[in-house]
Symmetry: C2
Subunit: 568 residues, 2 copies
Amino acid sequence: MLSDIEISRQAQLQPIETIAQEFGIIPAELTLFGSTKAKINLSIKQRLKDNRDGKLVIVTAVTPTPFGEGKTVTTIGLTQGLQAIGKQACACIRQPSMGPVFGIKGGAAGGGLAQVVPMEALNLHLTGDIHAVTSAHNLAAAALDARLYHETRLGAEEFTQASQLPALDIDPNKIMWRRVVDQNERSLRQITLAQGASNGPIHDGGFDITAASELMAILALSRDLQDMRARIGQIVLALSKSGEFITAEQLGVAGAMTVIMSEAIEPTLMQTLTGAPCLIHAGPFANIAHGNSSIIADDIALKLADIVVTEGGFGSDMGFEKFCNIKARQSGKAPDAAVIVVTVKALKANAELADGEARDEMSKLQAGFVNLAWHMRNVAQYGVPVVVAINRFESDSFEELAWLKAEVLELGAFGCEVSEAFTQGSQGATQLAQTVVHATEAGGEFKYLYELEASIEAKLMTIAEIGYGASGVNLSPLACAQLQTLKQKGFEHLPLCVAKTPLSISHDPKVKGAPSGFELPITELKLNAGAGFITALVGKVMTMPGLGVRPGYLNVDINEHGEIVGLA
Amino acid sequence: MLSDIEISRQAQLQPIETIAQEFGIIPAELTLFGSTKAKINLSIKQRLKDNRDGKLVIVTAVTPTPFGEGKTVTTIGLTQGLQAIGKQACACIRQPSMGPVFGIKGGAAGGGLAQVVPMEALNLHLTGDIHAVTSAHNLAAAALDARLYHETRLGAEEFTQASQLPALDIDPNKIMWRRVVDQNERSLRQITLAQGASNGPIHDGGFDITAASELMAILALSRDLQDMRARIGQIVLALSKSGEFITAEQLGVAGAMTVIMSEAIEPTLMQTLTGAPCLIHAGPFANIAHGNSSIIADDIALKLADIVVTEGGFGSDMGFEKFCNIKARQSGKAPDAAVIVVTVKALKANAELADGEARDEMSKLQAGFVNLAWHMRNVAQYGVPVVVAINRFESDSFEELAWLKAEVLELGAFGCEVSEAFTQGSQGATQLAQTVVHATEAGGEFKYLYELEASIEAKLMTIAEIGYGASGVNLSPLACAQLQTLKQKGFEHLPLCVAKTPLSISHDPKVKGAPSGFELPITELKLNAGAGFITALVGKVMTMPGLGVRPGYLNVDINEHGEIVGLA
């Protein structure tokens, strides 16, 4: 089989205007970025406001393993399959981050015969949204540190005289707004700033990956440009020495940040290998961020398509949970069905082998099934019909596939289908598509995991116990102090965005299967007032990845024809 | 008069395809970015290779003052004026940096009736080139620090075993590759990296503004993608503990950096208010960087236009000098004429008032004239015909303008014209345009300031004495040591790129007029092996600006219609 980028390059793409037109987007609503990408003007929302919404399907997965479960392959494959059975389908996915693109695997456009194309356009700059988030985020950081510098240098009175601005009296040890870069940058996790003779009070800081920026969540959750402007103004950047919140509005930087983001608010239209429309908007990293694609993209797609397929990052404990408890709450649009992607390989990797016993392949699969069972129950408790998609690999035996399907149906799934979208494209996903259509028609009674009115502690407890199977939570002294501040300032009724490892349902990446009986350690609580949630950092989670010993960038180059090679 | 952004917004723009077509670019060579921007495919160079080159005019200026001399206004105004007298004219300018856009003045698209439009598109992300340079640059920094981390953590042998890569043995105290951000970021000038428990050996580092990246110079000086790939491979990132250069090629990151830059290599086409073509490519900051627009853009424009107007940043001691001694040497294309932009205000500000004498306005103008005279002589010594353009302000008296013009002609300029492009647009620059056409026809005998074969010391001496009027140079101990390394490694025959204050011809920003008798203090010599020059840092120059007490971002916002306000 050809490599992903070879398949992408050999594909016969349609002009993106044609894709748009067939999808019901008029030329005046398109801003072309070459012939394969276009941004969609938000005026479309007004034009389509009376259309009926299509069905919304969210693709999630079992707990991820290093093999890759193929969630994006399945998302794109399902969209292509739906199209093949005569549905107007659209995929809504997140823009890949260059961190993983050059750090690990080389791309995030799906793969094989289920891809968004051209994959290099998706995987690199796309239409610049992540760059815009990085720039706007870092402008606020620069503005804050410059204000600290000038106020310190001049004193409050002289500063106000020189600038005609009130002194903010920023506490250099209480700056909450870090910087961001779309890169795997271990050595920027924790840095000391403003060294040197006269660069300002020396203080600590660091960089997160851009996808984890509150601005990325604001991009994903905003309804329109004015909503985004208001949210950006509400971002809390730091504490003053007297303990007051300092917002982007007070710093006078919220307008400029919005201006930098004013093109990014438009989703980007691309196409799958079969010419199905795909909207790309907002960023990944559902482990450390909210990490779902945007409400704006979903809203537009739902007005135009019969079925919209979106994905939540990692397992159902991560992106799916946040989709339901954060995004759906703000959008008012619950999923009509969920697809859980599983592979035989992943379940075997989830088998507990602690007893040292050498098991045969089928025993490993059977032992690892607890992980899928857990994710099925987790999704089902939101009242969403569950379809399990087995992303088939060559190494899977018929016996294994048959056993797995029978177990899944036995456990009460709405359906279970083998997907061969990677090797067969649309035709490998038509059965899955049929079953998903039936699931959306069956419907369910959606419910949130917790109510907003509950206390922060109660919400944390619910997510830990019902969301992850923990026996309780354990707050660090720092988290306790932050909890008190959040209560005092009146931010108790926000939903929670948990940042934890995606490699286990628990906080310990080594614990596979369906862990229980553990205490969830909450190390920090961070207010995201503009995005409208509180981030709870769990265990040793880090908001900035690092590069490994053999990073993905080693494979990437141009060839003698100037073509890109090594993205996959 | 309306504000710049109001004028820009009210302009009747032509579709960029029309601008391209009228200029001789065929549709297959265009990648549209909306209706007002397009990238030009480099295949055009092959198609046009037998066309005769047009004339090349470089716009420079007297020593800048806080009032602004209007160099971009004159560059765009002249292009519009040339078009008005029937010439096929094209402007080649640099992409504005968001640092100054949000730091100081709010934009760099010209102004009044001489603008590149839409100005907000030019001033913000444009087509993403600066973002691409930032990303590619920082990938190399992340890759280098990750390699340092893993080699330190594992030891050379175990590292090689795990990675199948040779150990580079990077000296954490000899890292030459800083990071970049397109922002005015004082507190990132000097930082301590990799703090925390296990993020790698703690070491010093810092950020420059993106325009000062060697990658930006490579973008400006490359002939094509393969040339860029080769240059990126040659970038020296650090020294090993045994004193060997470590290149981007050795780190295995040069291919990925090129891939990130593979769209940026295409110049962007926009239009002036009158529909004249304008190519935008590479970055500003001719004080701390090479800071000229790209050879690729000039090459394309020269094949299509009768006259190409480009600009070198700041006074003729800065961008113009680098244009001649670095860019023209690599491109083989010398300027056919130079325009020196001057304002009555700027010359008055250059008057030496040290004697405390209260002078009348005319005396101040006369006293400050030495600065213009110096720049005229400086340009003339390159054998380039000089036209002085007086950018007229309302406050200038007829008497002042008449005196200034007479003096300029007396001093041997090819011509001197008053430009009213800001208030009158094309019609305010037709006389200037006529005179510039005559100057390019008169021609000159171009010569470099120094030959490459000279030693680094000799080249520094020539630039200092003949280029700036200094009496000599003074190398710091660090610069002396670096000089020895450059000699040992065989990099002596590169041109020099001086980083110094643009606010004086000397290294001291307070010294106005035409200073002489000073020693030029060289603090550092930095190899840019990929770009092909050695940067010489002079005095207290900084490669990262800071935000002032009342930064430009305070004015920028969206209004109730979602339109951008406050860029000017």
